[in-house]
């Protein structure tokens, strides 16, 4: 997660020589109580959640004793903001604040440079005082000019005795932002205590997703900016993306409990950043609620699109599946069609799906999708580049209504009987196994299989299809094998199955908890 929790960000500041209050994060009330006992003084307890105005929402409270800390911790750990639960709280020694400053480092997209924002008032409500905040440019080599900072302090009511120490601390905060490649770092407030110390009382820090690879010391698990801790499904999706670099795959779950008048919760599958966003707008504007935002683009493999669809459909209570991208994709769209057809068949999709497959080879893509799904108990329609997102969103709404807006939760995946059978022929590919039902391969079927195998299979002495290339050459031929599986099904000779289990979802997709947001990891 590229967004750090307050306690993680404070640990970073501490490494750069900035003092932070004595304290620790807790996941249970009894942990909170023992931390309070160790501190042996009045403590402040703060929910670790990426929201603004935590204090006003009741997420920050004081405790005078370990017993009281325990009681408060219990309440805080039951809190939920949107769909996202509080999983951790920070228990810290309360400090005697004398003066407060707002210190923030932000990237100015217009100036293409980092800026230091400084306000001698600090504390909450800073958003409303934008005009009084000093904006000081940060030089990438030399940091911030200390005399400019001093001028802001001199013009403020802050005790002059602390100016040098504050300038030093601010310099260190700037250095921390630069060294950690932060997209933003906010210390609000940086305080002087009655004992004359400079302490970072709060800290929010977001690391640039693209630089996370250079910062193993930060222990960031998912280099992705979300407004909530990664859900179980997001972790599964992230693992899929990391394992397959053919094209991009982005998956985020969205808060869904706010829309009361919604036409229902839908699985959303976009292609390309802007095209996905535009498609999301089209389907949202007619009243649907997105369970997730997903984007597979940059010429993804069929396997990647398949896994994305499986992950989208692991979300419960969907009324439909909506897919749409830029509309004029330069990638070959039939890979996506094969991937979707496979996922929909395996889960025996029973809610309407509308997919806009506009772009290269769109005619073939639409035919594969519709024909490959023809026996499913629902309507699946493919559209092309000349169909607008608004038009297909309207069509989608009609189909959902015709289905009685029934919501549906995917069952465990459907796997043919010949899979795992010792009479079947099998070979490994990247991330899975290809199974061929030799028993049901008569001469005609075998010939069909071989001729649709992208020259990867041949007939053996018994006229059954077997591999003709090395295991190494087969490894990344998952898209070809998925295409073969679908073509066999379209030919009414379903003798090929590509088993691509998804770690965390399979072999038994019922392992997934009904509420995928729930678990605090």
């Amino acid at each position: 997660m590229a967004r750090l929790h307050e306690y993680q960000a404070k640990a970073v500041l501490s490494r750069f020589g900035i003092k932070v209050p004595l304290g620790k994060a807790a996941q249970t009330a009894s942990e909170a109580s023992s931390i309070a006992e160790e501190i042996a003084a009045k403590v402040i307890i703060k929910v670790q959640a990426w929201i603004t105005g935590r204090a006003a929402k009741g997420g920050i409270q004081f405790a005078d004793s370990p017993g009281q800390a325990k009681q408060i911790a219990e309440k805080l750990l039951e809190m939920k903001f949107g769909n996202f639960p509080v999983c951790e709280i920070l228990v810290e020694q309360a400090i005697d604040i004398k003066d407060e400053l707002f210190v923030s480092i932000a990237i100015d997209d217009a100036k293409q440079a980092p800026m230091l924002l400084l306000d001698a008032k600090g504390g909450s409500g800073i958003e409303d005082r934008a005009d009084t905040v000093a904006v000081i440019p940060i030089d990438l080599e030399y940091g911030v000019d200390s005399e400019t900072v001093r001028k802001v302090l001199v013009d403020s009511p802050i005790d002059a005795a602390n100016h040098d120490a504050l300038i030093d601390a601010i310099g260190k905060i700037v250095d921390a932002a630069k060294q950690c490649e932060a997209r933003s770092l906010e210390v609000n407030p940086l305080v002087t205590t009655k004992q004359g110390e400079i302490v970072a009382a709060d800290c929010r820090m977001t690391i640039d997703d693209y630089a996370v690879f250079r910062h193993p010391e930060l222990g960031i698990e998912i280099a992705r900016e979300l407004d909530h801790p990664p859900t179980k499904l997001e972790r599964i999706a992230y693992d899929v993306e990391q394992a397959d670099h053919r094209g991009t795959f982005y998956f985020a779950q969205l808060p869904t409990d706010e829309e009361k008048s919604s036409k229902g919760l839908i699985g959303f599958h976009g292609a390309g950043g802007g095209g996905s966003m535009m498609s999301m707008d089209a389907v949202s504007s007619i009243g649907f609620t997105l369970a997730n935002f997903c984007d597979t683009s940059g010429n993804p493999s069929a396997a990647k699109v398949y896994r994305a669809a499986r992950i989208i459909l692991a979300q419960p209570n969907l009324v439909g599946y909506f897919g749409s991208g830029s509309g004029v994709a330069s990638q070959e769209q039939y890979h996506s069609a094969y991937g979707l057809a496979k996922a929909f068949w395996e889960l025996q999709l029973a809610i309407p799906a509308v997919i806009r497959l506009g772009g290269n080879s769109e005619d073939r893509a639409v035919e594969i999708l519709q024909d490959g799904c023809k026996n499913l108990p629902t309507t699946i329609e493919g559209y092309k580049k000349d169909d607008t997102p608004a038009f297909i969103a309207k069509r989608f709404a009609e189909l959902v209504t015709a289905n009685g807006s029934r919501s549906w939760t995917a069952p465990a995946r459907n796997i043919p009987d010949f899979v795992g059978n010792d009479k079947s022929y099998s070979f490994a590919i990247e991330g899975g196994t290809v199974w061929i039902d030799h028993k049901n391969c008569n001469e005609q079927t075998s010939t069909f299989v071989v001729s649709n195998s992208s020259e990867l299979l041949t007939l053996n002495d018994n006229s059954k299809p077997i591999t003709t290339v090395s295991e190494e050459d087969l490894a990344n031929k998952d898209s070809e094998m998925i295409a073969l599986e679908i073509e066999c099904r379209r030919n009414a000779t379903p003798v090929v199955f590509v088993d691509l289990p998804i770690s965390g979802l399979d072999p038994d997709s019922r392992l997934l908890t009904p509420d995928p947001f729930l678990p605090c990891q």
Binding site: E127, G327, N360
Partner: protein, 308 residues
């Protein structure tokens, strides 16, 4: 005319011997781009598609002369050094194709660029395409498809397209062409939050281009590019009609939607804010992307009517 790229510009490809660099060099040349040299450290002396390869940008310039644009196809984490090398060798315009270039690297490239009076498009850009002339980057796919999809300029009925999304750059070009509108240049400014040549800068180039009659924008939530464009229009620095679509109406604050620029932070860069700023500045903002071609046709008709 067109902006940024035409068939006379002398183009260098950094990372030309890589898979993408090689494939795109071929496609760029097929479309009409004047690719004169390539660079890959350690591969000097080879050639790719008949284009000579050099170890360093400075060597390429010494051997074959001035370079107008360097197209950078190296891996994301090497983009900073490759860009600085080109800028220090005297190249004044770069196109940074790779996705996932670290933010502080992009800011460093910007700082070095300012010292040398050089600029860059991207990072995370699909590229720039001037129909009938040339393209740089990965935009357009196969040359024959690109020729079919994007109309060449038509006098009095020609727009310049600026987009924050790669796929939507092509989409805009395709749908506008189908409606009979000519295209001077399609520009994908790049999806990241810090980019070299943002929408307002490109709009100023279109304002100066005699062939461009109106400016079409595919904007997105996040950042300040659309607001700054609105400011230019309010200040009278852009007087050509602006027709825009802004993606992300349904986006919630705090979650990034695919690429780095599209995120609402601290209430800044909201959909509503951008739409209001542009409308207040006199731009047309369509609520649905499918309405864009008709809105452009209306704007062009109005221009022609007022010219009579």
């Amino acid at each position: 005319m067109s902006i940024i790229i035409n068939q006379t510009k002398r183009v260098l490809v950094q990372g030309i011997t890589g898979r993408e660099g090689r494939a795109r060099t071929k496609l760029m040349r097929e479309f009409g781009t004047n690719v004169v040299a390539g660079c890959t450290p350690g591969k000097g002396g080879q050639d790719v598609e008949g284009v000579p390869v050099f170890d360093k940008v400075s060597e390429a310039i010494k051997e074959i002369g001035q370079i107008d644009i360097s197209v950078v196809f190296v891996p994301a984490k090497l983009v900073k050094n490759a860009s600085i090398e080109a800028i220090e060798a005297g190249v004044k315009l770069l196109l940074l194709v790779p996705d996932r270039v670290p933010l502080w690297d992009a800011m460093k490239i910007a700082a070095v660029g300012k010292e040398h009076n050089a600029t860059f498009i991207g990072p995370n850009t699909l590229g720039v395409l001037s129909p009938g002339k040339a393209l740089i980057g990965m935009i357009g796919g196969r040359a024959d498809a690109a020729r079919q999809w994007f109309n060449e300029p038509t006098p009095g009925r020609t727009v310049g397209v600026i987009s924050r999304s790669g796929g939507m750059t092509s989409s805009c070009g395709y749908y506008l062409s189908r409606a009979g509108i000519g295209i001077s240049t399609l520009v994908h400014v790049g999806g990241d939050s810090v980019i070299g040549l943002p929408i307002p800068d490109v709009a100023e180039m279109f304002q100066q281009d005699p062939e461009t009659d109106a400016i079409v924008i595919f904007g997105e939530i996040g950042g300040s590019q659309e607001e700054r464009l609105a400011q230019l229009a309010s200040d009278g620095k852009i007087t050509k009609p602006i027709i825009a679509y802004i993606g992300g109406a349904a986006a919630k604050e705090g979650t990034r939607f695919s690429h780095a620029g599209a995120i609402i932070e601290h209430g800044r860069g909201t959909h509503q804010g951008k739409v209001s700023a542009l409308k207040d500045a006199g731009a047309t903002v369509v609520p649905s992307f499918g309405d864009l071609p008709q809105a452009v046709l209306d704007a062009i008709d109005k221009l022609q009517a007022s010219a009579l």
